[in-house]
Each structure stands twice: as structure tokens, then as C-alpha cells.
Symmetry: C2
Subunit: 112 residues, 2 copies
């Protein structure tokens, strides 16, 4: 499955994968691949701009480090990011309930 239709939900997923502790972009991709059972495999061109967006929004903070000779940008949730994550989780529940209702409510011509 690709993430073409993530619109707006990607941020929540990124925040969620940082909830367990700071991570760098490349690791976030792997984490999401694992937590979704391999269904979600994000390209780097999606992740890195998204992380910068979140950083600019003040929801995460990034810092450079070097591990094994390779530089990493490690991101961690800010308090605002933590709050945002809670909100996004609630939004997702609302949203998914709404879409499910719309997809089921369409037919139901037999209220038997």
C-alpha cells in the first residue's frame, strides 16, 4: 500500500513513531514498516520534508549526531508535539468513524 492518501494522517503517524523515544528519519521509515506489518513503506522524499514540516511547526526538535561515522538527525517530540499527537489520535478516531459511516450509510436501503 502506498501513502498517496495519507493526507494529514502522515503527521500523526510520524509523531506516534517518535513517541517511544527519539529517532532519526531513516529509522522512522523502518519503524513504520514494522508497526504496519510492511504495508506502509514510505519513500525518503516523503519522510524528510514531512519531518522538517513538523520541526518548523514546533512539534518536534531535531539535533545532529554522528553514529558509526554517519551523521544522523535525531528528532524528538516537544511538549506541543505530544499534545498534538493526542489531538491527532482523537481526530483519527473521529475521521475514521465518519468515513466508515459514510461508506456504510450509503446503501442501507433496508432498515429491516
Amino acid at each position: 500500500m502506498r501513502a498517496e492518501e495519507l493526507k494529514g494522517h502522515l503527521d500523526a503517524m510520524l509523531l506516534a513513531s517518535l513517541e517511544g523515544g527519539p529517532q532519526h528519519g531513516y529509522a522512522v521509515i523502518e519503524a513504520l514498516r514494522q508497526s504496519t506489518g510492511g504495508r506502509l513503506d514510505l519513500p525518503t522524499g516523503t519522510i524528510y520534508p514531512a519531518l522538517r514540516r513538523l520541526e518548523q511547526a514546533g512539534l518536534i526538535t531535531g539535533s545532529w549526531s554522528v553514529v558509526g561515522g554517519r551523521r544522523r538527525r535525531e528528532y524528538r517530540l516537544t511538549p506541543a508535539g505530544d499534545r498534538a499527537l493526542s489531538g491527532r489520535r482523537a481526530d483519527w478516531l473521529d475521521f475514521s468513524a465518519m468515513v466508515t459511516a459514510a461508506l456504510e450509510g450509503g446503501p442501507c436501503p433496508n432498515p429491516a
Copy 2:
């Protein structure tokens, strides 16, 4: 709730609201408002272009009619649209399961 984040799911909802029989755009807005308990209130600038997209894609067909002196464009599902709806419903189940997994899988630092 607004539909800013519907990306890709709107089509499925439109198809679903046509599943119970042919409808015109204005009625689809009302139908979706009702089936989502008022949570989804689409602006006409969203609906009409979307219906034309679906028509161009061959998933619905539109025909003009006049009711009470006002012209209406009534849309109905094509066989392809019916098949597409089934696919979209399945996609939605996959997608929502995936997002839910990612939102829950983020934390779980204690596999106790």
C-alpha cells in the same frame, strides 16, 4: 469536521451515497451530512468537480433532468463504479487498519 484530509476517500464516499440509487449533487451533500451525523458538510466547490472527475473516470454517468423548474444533473453508478466502490471499501478497511496500527504501534515500549 472538514474534509481537508479526505484525499482519496471522498470518491469512495460519493460512490457509496449513489449506491442506494441515482442522486444529484446537492442531494449527495445532504445525504453525506445525514449519514455522518452532520459531521461532514461538503462545500459545493468540492462536490461538483469531484462528480465530474468520477464521471470522466467512467464510474458514474450523469443525465440532466428538470424537477420543479430547476435543472438537475442526476448521477448513477456504472458497473465499473460499482466494482470500484467494492474496491474502495476494501482499501478503506486496509488503510484504516494500517493507520490505527501505526498510531498504536508507535508507543508500545513495554511489551510486558
